[in-house]
Amino acid sequence: MSGSVDRRAVLTGAAATALVIPVAVVATRNAATLAVASTSGTATASTTQPPGAALGAYLQIDSANNVKLFIGPSEMGQGIMTGLGQLVAEELMLNWSQLSVEHATATAASPNPFANPMFGAQITGGSTSIRGWYIPLRTAAAKARDMLFAAAEAATPGGGWQLASGGKVTNGVTTFNFSDLVAAAAKLTPPSSVTLATTRNVIGKRLHRTDIPAKVDGSAVFGIDVQIPGMVFASVIHCPTSGGIVASMPSSQNGATLINLGDAVGVIATNTWSAMNAAQSLASAIKWTLPTNLASRDSVQILATAQSLLTSTTVTPRIYESVGGIDPAAALGQATTKIDATYNLPYLAHACMEVLNCTAVVTPTSAEIWAPTQGQAMCFPTIMGITGLPASAISVHTTYLGGGLGRKIEQDYISQAVKIAKQIGKPVKLVWSRKQDFQNDKYRPCASIRVQAGADAAGNITALLYRNVSPSINIQRNTTPGNNPEDTGAVAGAVGLPYAIANRRIEFVPNPADIPLGYWRSVGESYNTFAVESAIDELALAMGKDPVALRRSLLTSANPRLLGVLNAVDKLSGWSTTAPPKGSARGVAILSGFGSYIGLVAEISGSATSIRVNKMFCAIDCGVAINPDSIEAQVQGGIAHGLSAALWGQVTFASGIPNVTNFSNYRVLRRAEMPAVSVAIVPSTEAPGGVGETGVPCVAPAVANAFAKLTGVRVRTLPFFPGATMSDG
C-alpha cells in the first residue's frame, strides 16, 4: 500500500505519526494507513492535520487533546457523523466541541474495521448505520478508555482511574489528558471485554451536528468539489436508449478528447461546462447499437405485461409467505366484505441534488478515487477490474454526499472515472450533467400489486391474497443466481405484516422488464406499504369502520410498539378527538420497518384536481433516540421525499428512451408546498432502529387515504398528478 499512502501523505500534508494498534471490535488490522485518513475527501494541498496519535482504528488524539473519530458510514445528510460521534462522546466523556468526525479512507484492510457490522462490508444503506454501530463503536471506545486507564496506571501507579469530562483520566490525585497517555496506551493490548457506560449525558441530546458549520460557509467538500493539482474535467454521454452501446464514434469533438466507455462516451475538456457541452453535441455523431428487445424497455408494454401477470392463473408465483389453515382464495369466498384492488406505482428517479461524479488518479502502481459513494466495498473490485492492480494499491476517499438515496451505491460512475483516468494518465474529475443523471439512473422498480382481502360478519379479516408483479433487482443483477432466485426485497413491507389476518398468501411474480433498477430510499416498502396501507383503508371503509380503530383492533396483542405509535399519532393529530378543519380530511398509514415503528397522519385540503398537503403528523419509535433533532430532520425529509414521489414522481420509457430530462419534467416538492410536520418520538429503551428511510413509505398511502376521504375518489395509481412540470417558480 506504499504507493497510495505516500501519494496521499504528500497531497494532504497530513502528518503520518501513526502508532496504531487495533482495538476494533469488528476486526483487527494493521491500521498504519489510518493515521493519514483524509478528512474531507479533498486532496487539496492546503489540508493540514495536527499531528495526532491513533488509538485503534477509529480514534486519533492530537496534542491539544482534540479527539478525531474516523467512521465507515457515508455522511449523505442523515447526520451519521453526529450520531456516531455522540456514541463515542458518551463513552469517553468528551466535550462535544472537542470531537471531530471524518470519513475514514477505505483501504484493502481485511478484515475491514469500517465494514458495516450489519452487512459485513463497507456499505451505507438500509438505515443500518446507527443500528449496526451502536454496540461495536461504543465497545471500541470503551476499550480505548480502559487502555488509557492502564497507561495512566503505568505512569503513576495508584489505581482508581476514571474518566473526567473533557477527555481526561483521573484518580483524584493525578489527572491526565488523553493526549498525555495516547502514545503509551496505543502500545497496550486491547482488553478482551469491557463494560459500557450507562450514562446518558450525550446520547439522547439534541446536539448540533458536526458537519453543519462547513455546510453553511461553502467549505464542505462534496465529490463534485474535489480538486487535484493537474486534473482535467470530464463528462459523459450515454446512449439515449437505455441499454444501447457504442457502435462507432468520432475521435475528438471541438478539441475535446473522447473515450469509448462501452455504454457511454467520455469527453475530456478543460472545464466541466465545456465537457458537458461537447458531450451533448455528440448526440448525433455517435452511432449506437440498440438493445434487441425494446418492448421490455417500453412503459406501455411493461405495464401490459404486469396487468396480465397480476391475474394469470398459469404463471407460478414465488410464494414468500403463507399463513393460516385455509387457502386465502377459499377464505375469500366465505367473506362477507371483500375488496379486490390493483395498485400501480411507476419507475422513480433518485434525483440526488448532487449529480453523479468521481475524481480518480490512476498510475501504473496505484489507484485513488475521491467519490460521493455509499458503496466503498464495491469500489475495490470495480477498480481492480479496470486497472489490474491489487486491492492493496487502491484507496477510496469518501467525500460528503449531496444526497445518496441509494443511487450512490452503484459503480457506473466510479468505473467511468477510473477508466478515463487510466487511459489519459492524468487526474480526472468526471461530472455527469443533470440530464445524463436523470436518463441513466438505476430506477426504483415500477410495481403492480393486486390485493384481495375479505372480512367475516364479525369484522375479522379472514383472507389476504397479495400479488406483487415488479421487475426484480436481484434477478436483474443475478445476485442470487439459480432457477428461483430470491428477492425478498421485492416483498419487503408485505411479508410479516403485523396485522391479525388469519389466512394470507404473499406472492411475487417478476416482471421481465429490462429497465435498469436500483435501490431507492425505502426500497420494497416504498411500493408495498402503499398497497398494504391503502388496502387496509379500503377494507375499513367497506366494513364501515374507522381506519385507526380497525388498525388498532388488528394490532392489539401482537405488536405493542406499532400500537404505541398508532396511539401516539392518533393523539398528536387529534384523529379521535378533533375534527379536521373544514374542507380538510385526514388519512393514516403505519409501518414496522427498518427496525423502527412509524405512524403517519396526513391532513389535506383541495379537490380531485388539486390538493394541498397541509399537515403531517408523525409518531416514531426508533428505540433509543441518539439525537432527537436528527430524527425529526430525517422524518421531515422523508416526508418531503415521499410527497415528491406520491404527487409527481414518475419516469416512463418509450422504447427505452426515458421521458425525464431535468427537474423541469421531474417535479419535486418545493418550499411553499412543504406541509407543517409534527413529530412525536415515542420514548424507548430498546436498541436503536433505522430512521433514514422509515419516514418515506407511509406518505403516499396516508395522502391517498386522506384523498379518498376528502373526495370519495380512491387513487390506486401513482403519482397523483402525472406529467407535472416545474419551472423557475
Binding site: D211, G402, G637, N662, R670
Partner: protein, 152 residues
Amino acid sequence: MMVPVSTTLTLNVNGVNRTATVSDTGMPLLWVLRDILGLTGTKYGCGIEICGACTVLVNGQAEKSCVMDVGSAVGKPIMTVEGLAVDPDGQKAQAAWIANQVPQCGYCQPGMLMVTVGAMKAGHHGASIGSENSNVCVCGTYQRINQAVQGL
C-alpha cells in the same frame, strides 16, 4: 468549428479582484467560479435555472449563476457562499441556519443561503424572506428554512 479565443477577465468576488482566463465569455459564471477560480461552494444542480443551487449575488441581487454569462458579471461585485462570513447579513443567515440545524446533505444550502441573503438585502425580513425562494432541496429541509428566516 469555432476556434476558441482565450479572454482574461477580472471578476470581483467576495471583495477580491480575481482574474480568470476563459475560452468563451459565454461560459456561465457558475463554472468560472468552480472550475477556474476554485470556489466550489457554489453548486451545480440543474443548469437550467430551476433548482437555485447555483445562486450567487451579483450587485447584491440573487442570480442563478448557471445561466449567467461570465462576461455580464464583469465589473459588478459578486458574492458567493464563501463570502457570507464577512457580510453582516450573511453572518446572520449563517447563524440562523446553524441555530435551526437546517442542512441535511447540505448540497442545496449555499443556494438557499444566497437567496435568503439576497432577500435581506432587498429589504425583506422574517417570513417575507421565504416568498421568492423556490430553490429545490431534495433532502426536504424546507420546514427548518421557514423557521430559520423568522428571526432575520
